[in-house]
Amino acid sequence: MRTFAFRRLQCACAVLLLSAPATAAEFKSESAGTTTIPAAMHRVYVLDAALPHIVDGRIYVLDAADLSLKGMLEAGFAGMMLAAPDRRRIYVATTFYERLTRGKRIDVVQVFDDQTLKVIDEIPIPTRRAQALSYRSLFQRSSDGNVLFIQNATPATSISVVDTASKRQLETPAPGCYGIYPAPTKPLRFSTLCGDGTIGTYTMSSNFQSSERKTSAKLFDTGADPLFIHAERDQDGYVFLSFKGKLLRASLDGESATITETLDIIPPDAADWAPGGYQPFAVDPKSGMAYILMHPGNKDGDHKNPSAEIWAYDLRGKRLVARSRAANLTSLTLSAVDPALLFGINPVDLTIERFTIDASSHQISRAGQIRLGETAALVEAPR
């Protein structure tokens, strides 16, 4: 084929030479190429379910320095995202149908390279994964990074456990429970929030044959003050947030879960304020600062309302440190590389926004934005 092509090429050139004058020499022709994401670039990932075309969700890859768009990943139908910066991979759990929107359902974890943004592996999973909005806690991995945890819902809930190397799988029933919180130091252990206010903790056998479940005491009130399923890692545990503005520190490393501390972020003079959104807060494990999306109005049904302010709450000092104006955010994340940087999703103005945190006052200021996305709900800045 190449030989044939070259023969015709020579022929074409002969024709060209007849009409090519000397002036053409000054022109240097270009060629089309393909860019890649620099290894060292600090990344912001935004998962947009693109509801109006929900089969075609996507993950935008932004430069954390200026929010410029550097590329995108396919997220399929109600896809979930999990960045594995140590492995330079992005995992996407999603669903395909044989005929776009109908026919046989196929669920897989797609493994993307985080520089070429190409799919380099695919792991088939049961067609029971929760086709849900992209909450972080619905797709997680073990503390050693070897095992993926995927939330299922049929609507009976269970959790799929997938070894990325061997692709061995285990499905643990977790009826009435939702959200996955891997144990901070035990790779074979994870916890889940349950509808009766307990936390279930599962410990798997190392051969993936079985898992044992331990149920905590009743730790929260799913009726009066439910917990958001978004949780943040603290130095030695997890931080949960309740609809009414309580921060719960949880220890999830043991065989069963405990709440070690409950902090109320709402001061008396702001009694009608409440947290809200899909990813309503971020915690800096080093400094112990929590940044929380807050809005006035704490009626039932307001728990996904966009922000009016971001509050900075000191988990160690147990006090509200600063309140900063920040309108219309429903998701917030802290940079894993620079704890003075926050990134948020503003679904009202359809922007992704970048914020800087003042080191002494903890006042937060907007420092950049890009108009992007349709119904984005998850933002991560993992490397």
Partner: protein
Amino acid sequence: MSDIIINRLMAAFDRAAEQAFRRSAQAIGRRSALSTIGKLLVGGAMLPVLPFDRSSGVHAADAPKADAADGSCDYWRYCALDGFLCSCCGGSVSACPPGAEPSKVTWIGTCHNPDEGKDYLVSYNDCCGKTSCGRCLCNGNVGERPGYRMGLHNDINWCMANTQSMYHCTVSVLVGMAESK
């Protein structure tokens, strides 16, 4: 409402969940559902709204006449609807557009009808098997709870138990009355 949810969940279990999970799921699901918010009064015409009966009545042409304001997210029935209004997509307040099937399982909201001063139980059936409609996206969350209270959760595709599980739009079906709070 507890029982509606139990029945809905159970119907889904019958069809979609694994045999192995069934016993524990029933036990825990029931316990969970029995602690549901609100006290409920359920009408006598209860039977047709249960999912396993409804699936046979899918082609019913007697869909209720849409209210005047049904294209607006502010319409009272939509107090906890998260998705595209089927009334903007070729369907009506309670009927799926052509080619789409009502979901076999749903979540239940409680909405206040300001004209009557009464509260109603609303089944938010997703309509399934067609590409997402894309019109009139609403996001009401009264009484909504995270997925550990699955029967009160709306950030998930309720077409999940249908054979064709693509999400198209959402209807609001009155399935009972609730005691006003």
